[in-house]
Amino acid sequence: MKIVVCFKIVHDENELTVNQDKSIDESKAPYAISPYDCNAVGAAMNLAATVVDSEVIALTAGGERVENGKMKKAILSRGPAEMYAVKNDSLDKAESYNVAAALKVAIEKIGADLIICGEGSADLYNQQVGNMIGAMMGINTLNGICGMTFNNDILTVERAGDDGLEIIELKLPAVLSVTSDICIPKIPSMRDILAAGKKPSTVYTLEELGVADSVCVTTVSVRAPESTERKQIVIKGDGDEQIAEFYDGIRKALM
């Protein structure tokens, strides 16, 4: 079974800074693998471990960041044998339709029986790319997947449905978007990270893949909301005296 697991390289949102005009500055925030995609990679590796003759390939789309050595190691140290990327500056901020269109063509070129995506990206969290890849490819597509097993050519999945847990059987090829509770992603060891540097990676450009870049939804603005003023009275230390002082401050609020 050939599994392609898709991932996004994002700026760590905990390191974003807000400018005076409330716009967002990403430039100082380091790159990170979008956290929910780490669950997707973990789920892909776990499934592959139960299926003979299986391989896991990682695929991303984005601008310059797709060639970042640290990110390559970050993804490949989690187990995939190889990394592919679709590169174009427009893809860093592309809407989900365009990301899905780029990934779809790359997937067709690489070949895959199963495509696994994370629930949603840490930055936009639209939870659409996996579903759209499936819709574009015209293959079986499901989201909200929190468990999966493969037996006798049938994939049995658990889906966190709107009214409860659903057990669903489907045939490959398929695209699954998995929830973050499908597995706890493992932390790569130093050995994994060193080995990851030696694994192959391939970069396609949008032009090479023949994907047109269309605009359907335009971004008008991205602004931080007004923040609430807080007192920020912080006591340091957990001695009896400090705890008593702290309690004095909060007593009224607790009643």
Binding site: I167, I168, T228
Partner: protein, 299 residues
């Protein structure tokens, strides 16, 4: 406000009143596409009934229908079924989906939406092209006056038989309603063990607070269910008092509590971001502070 000519609402059977009410606000005519209970259709000029089958198995056919009729706006909910079908509709119409929409307006026939991005750090305003496919968030899901549908059309669409629903285990709905709670004790990864959890629960009980938690507490520690998770993609709470225990204060969590009246924080890490967004904080070992507070309150 400008109105659009054709607005569609697409539902797996959930929240039909809410979705059609939103649709009627923005459209001169409302068309509903739904599955599940046939008698559940309300408010629409035309209602297309899909059948009782598995909603997601109709995704391709629903998308085809919408793409043929080209409404200016298609409204869905934010559940997994809606998100999946929204993707199919958007692909068929050659566009993207605007999801988790908290605000919606129409200007010069374009649909303008606002949603939270970067885990709650910012709001993003987007403008759609010819067809807007929108998954609306809970803020817009307000029920309206119920009117009967004018015309009900039963469709005989082909279900995707390659996706077979074998079993459905209905959720045991929890009685907790964190978004309405007046006091909440929220716990995070700083709790060392279940003894600490018990201490926090006791404290909550004493002050009459509900319990809430961060995402890792449900997903990694599995101490509490998903309905207790506060933050982006979870509950947006606005209690009078929020007591944060062992929570570092990552943006994804803080966005779910920043409308609280008073925020109280207990954490051992002095540089934890939670101390920047709290009213009262104490830096120290929660395993010592929580039982000590308990004694002080009981005294």
């Amino acid at each position: 406000m400008d109105k659009l000519k054709k607005v569609w609402a697409v539902s797996s059977g959930n929240k039909i009143n809410e979705l059609t009410t939103v649709a009627a606000q923005y459209g001169e005519s409302v068309t509903l596409v739904y599955s599940g209970d046939k008698s559940a259709a309300v408010n629409a000029d035309i209602a297309y009934y899909l059948g009782e089958g598995f909603f997601t198995a109709y995704a391709t056919e629903i998308a085809k229908l919408v793409a043929e009729e080209k409404p200016e706006l298609v409204i869905l909910g934010s559940g997994v079924d809606s998100r999946l079908v929204a993707a199919y509709i958007a692909v068929a119409c050659g566009t993207s989906v605007q999801t988790d929409v908290a605000e919606l307006s129409v200007e010069d026939s374009a649909v303008i939406t606002s949603k939270m991005v970067y885990g709650g750090v910012a709001n993003m305003i987007e403008k759609s092209g010819n067809v807007a496919v929108v998954c609306v968030g809970p803020a817009l899901m307000v029920p309206g006056e119920i009117k009967p549908v004018k015309e009900l059309i039963e469709l005989n669409l082909a279900e995707n038989k390659e996706i077979k629903l074998i079993e459905k285990r209905t959720k045991v709905s929890s009685s907790v309603n964190l978004s309405a709670a007046k006091k909440i004790v929220g716990i995070g990864r700083g709790l060392a063990d279940e003894d600490a959890l018990a201490d926090c629960k006791k404290l909550a009980e004493t002050i009459g607070a509900e319990m809430g938690c961060t995402r890792p507490i449900c997903e990694e520690k599995r101490w509490m269910g998903k309905e207790f998770y506060i933050g982006v993609s979870g509950v947006f709470a606005q209690p009078d008092v929020y007591i944060s225990i062992g929570i570092s204060g990552q943006v994804q969590h803080v966005v779910g509590i920043n409308k609280s009246g008073t925020i109280i924080a207990i954490d051992k890490n002095e540089s934890a971001p939670i101390f920047k967004v709290c009213d009262y904080g104490i830096v120290g070992d929660l395993h010592k502070i929580v039982p000590a507070l308990q004694k002080l309150i009981e005294a």
